[in-house]
Each structure stands twice: as structure tokens, then as C-alpha cells.
Amino acid sequence: MNHVLHIGLNHYLVLAAILFAAGLCTMTLKRNAIGILIGVELVLNAANVNLIAFSHYGTGLIDGQVTAIFVIVLAAAEAAVALAIFLNFYNRLATVDVDRGDRLRG
């Protein structure tokens, strides 16, 4: 019972593991390019939860928080680039179904 009510590092790690798996599953199952992007965001969030949790329970230093901020910022950048690519993809193929994008020649 104590393990349930007394929140520790493991709680966060398990949560992050499930989030990670859900994100990975999303990435594999969605054929919509933007769906895949959303899956990636889920995975990144799982990583961030881990980072903050370790920062809190582990070293007690700010490394985790700093890394999490880097991740958040890079996720935004990644989304911007990914969307630009998807728009091009869409312009060319008239769909966001990634299975149609197997021919990479212009």
C-alpha cells in the first residue's frame, strides 16, 4: 500500500514507459504523416517526464530540467521542419499517407 500512496521515482518511470510505448505504437500504426509526428511528440514527452523525475529524485541537479527545456524547444523546431516537409509531400502526392511516399525521386 505504501508503494501506491507514496509516490516515488518508479511511479514516474513506469508512467513514462507506458507513454513511450504508446508513442512508439502510434508511430508504427499511423499512416498519416502528422499522426506519426504526434507519436514522436508522445515519445519525447515520455523522455521529458523521465528527465524531470530523475532531476527531482535523482541527482537533485538542474541537468534534467535543462535537458527537458532543450527537448521541448527542439520538439518545436522538429515539428516546424516536419510540417514543412509534409506540406511539400502533400503538394506532390496530394496525400499525407506516408505509404505513398516510397518514391523519393522528384
Binding site: 521515482l9 510505448a21 508513442g23 505504437c25 504526434i38 532531476s55 516537409i85
Partner: protein, 310 residues
């Protein structure tokens, strides 16, 4: 208790969002489910004391990235109800693999021993003495207030100030027998607080001194100080508090600031320890900016019309 409630609440929200993302067929709804996960993650960050990261998560992730994603959805979905249903076999394989992954991860997690405590490389014996079990007080606030009111600062063995007096600083002072110094202007910080014998005073001594002071000279009353010290020395302080104090006692002097959530230190970290990664990421962001603009640029200049002088 409250922590548990909040944690489970946020965790449930995050998981609901994650499974919503996974199972939803409609891409805009997928994005909304992602919003639930992002919000819950921000809540978890707040719960873990990372206020700044939580706020950044809300601004950049929920307010920026997600809007961008939804914007992309609107631009590219010929019809918003478009469905790309995966095949059953694919679903089965993905489910099996992911469930196995979750099982593996959880098993590994639960069978690992994580080092929970501060990094104290120079004082390895501290870890060996079992700091995790040490009954630190959970309420040193009163003492801290008192020290603040009396302009007392704490320096480490090298005489470097640890910043404003905090729970962490005091705990460190008491534990490490650091020297306590009066806090003044920048110049005279390194004057140790002396005891009657003329020797620099340790943290424990300080607490004793505080206790001995007549009540009218203190900002806090006897009872509060009493309870604080009692709590500090109580053998059955809850383990959670130990962890929190241990967290607060981390090696870096930068760890906590007066507000206790490390925002200031994140800033100092960006321009200190993490300057190089920070700059690298800045350059990367610039590259991303240019790249995204390049990718989304007009292929052919739009044909000029009679209307719209822009």
C-alpha cells in the same frame, strides 16, 4: 496524500491522452488527445517542482507546437474525416511489440536500483552513512525565516557563499559543519560568524545559538524554533522528506534559489555550464528556421492580380 492524488490524476490524464492518440482515427482528435497528455505532463512537472519547465511546456508545446500541428492538419487534410486504417495484422504486431516493450521496461525499472540522492563525489562517506535514512526535518521554514531576518548567510568550506539562506543551505551547514557567515553587502560576505571562543561557528552550533537567543531578539517564537529543531532531530521523520532534503542538499551551490524552484539556476546554467549546448541549439534553431522557410517557400511567384496591393 495530496501528492498521490495529484500524481494519479495527472498520470491518468496523460495515459488517457496517450491511448487516445493511439486509438483515435481522426487526426484532429488525435491532436486534442495529445493536448491532454501535454497538459498532464506539465502538471507532473509542476508536481516535481520544475515550475519553469512546466510553464515552458505549456507555452511552447501546447501553445506553439500543437497549434502548429493542428494548423498542418488543416492545411493538408482534404477532408478532416480522412481515415488511414491500419491493417489488422499491423495492429496485432504493433500491440504485441509495444506490450512486450512496456513489460520489459517496467520489469527493468522495477528491478533496477536507482541512485536516489545527491551527487557528493568529494564526500563519498556521506552517502555511505546513509543519508537517505537520516531523519531530516520537513519544516525548517521557521529557522530559515529567522536566518533571513537576521541576515545570516552560509558559505561552504572554501568560503564561497551558497546564495541566500535556504532550507538546503541550512541543512548543508548543519550536516557538513560548514561555516555560517553574516550576510552583508557583496564586500564583507566572508566574515565568519564566530562563537564565544572566537572559532567559526558550525551549523549545529548556530541552531543551538538561535535556541539560546532571547525570544525578543528573534523573528520567530520559541515554539516554532523548538518544533523546527525537534523536527530536524526527530528519528521518525518521513522518508519523503529525507528525499526532498537530500534533493535540496545537492552538490551544486546553484541548486536552489530563494524561490526554491531553480528557475534562476536554469538561467545561470544556460549561460554557464550549458553554454555550449545552448549555443549549439541556438544555431540549430536558426538552421531550422531557414530550412523550414526554404521548404515552405513559394515554388513559383504567385501571379500578380489586379486586386490586393500588397
Amino acid at each position: 496524500m495530496l501528492e498521490a492524488i495529484l500524481f494519479y490524476g495527472f498520470a491518468a490524464m496523460a495515459l488517457a491522452g496517450a491511448f487516445g492518440v493511439l486509438l483515435s482515427r481522426n487526426i484532429v482528435r488525435t491532436a486534442v488527445w495529445l493536448l491532454a497528455t501535454l497538459g498532464a505532463a506539465a502538471g507532473l512537472y509542476f508536481l516535481l517542482g520544475a515550475m519553469f519547465v512546466g510553464a515552458i511546456q505549456l507555452i511552447v508545446y501546447a501553445g506553439g507546437t500543437l497549434v502548429l500541428i493542428i494548423f498542418g492538419v488543416m492545411l493538408t487534410s482534404k477532408n478532416p474525416h480522412m481515415r488511414f486504417a491500419p491493417r489488422r495484422a499491423e495492429v496485432a504486431v504493433a500491440a504485441v511489440v509495444c506490450l512486450a516493450l512496456v513489460g520489459l521496461l517496467v520489469w527493468v525499472l522495477l528491478h533496477s536500483t536507482w541512485y536516489v540522492g545527491p551527487i557528493v563525489q568529494t564526500r563519498a562517506q556521506w552517502a555511505q552513512t546513509g543519508v537517505n535514512e537520516h531523519p531530516w526535518a520537513h519544516d525548517l521554514q521557521a529557522v530559515t525565516q529567522f536566518l533571513d531576518a537576521n541576515h545570516v548567510a552560509i558559505v561552504d568550506a572554501k568560503g564561497v557563499p551558497c546564495g541566500p539562506v535556504t532550507l538546503a543551505g541550512l541543512a548543508r551547514a548543519a550536516w557538513y559543519e560548514l561555516t555560517v557567515m553574516p550576510q552583508g553587502d557583496q564586500g564583507d560576505r566572508r566574515q565568519p560568524l564566530h562563537d564565544a571562543d572566537g572559532k567559526p561557528m558550525s551549523g549545529d552550533q548556530l541552531l543551538a545559538e538561535l535556541h539560546a537567543l532571547p525570544p525578543q531578539d528573534r523573528a520567530i517564537d520559541d515554539a516554532a524554533l523548538e518544533s523546527a529543531i525537534a523536527a530536524l532531530e526527530s528519528p521518525d521523520a518521513p522518508a519523503r522528506t529525507v528525499q526532498q532534503v537530500a534533493y535540496a542538499c545537492g552538490d551544486a551551490d546553484l541548486l536552489t534559489d530563494a524561490d526554491g524552484d531553480g528557475t534562476r539556476n536554469i538561467g545561470l546554467g544556460f549561460l554557464g555550464v550549458y553554454l555550449l549546448p545552448f549555443e549549439v541549439i541556438s544555431v540549430l534553431l536558426l538552421a531550422v528556421l531557414i530550412g523550414a522557410a526554404y521548404l515552405a517557400r513559394p515554388r513559383v511567384p504567385a501571379s500578380g492580380g489586379t486586386g490586393g496591393g500588397r
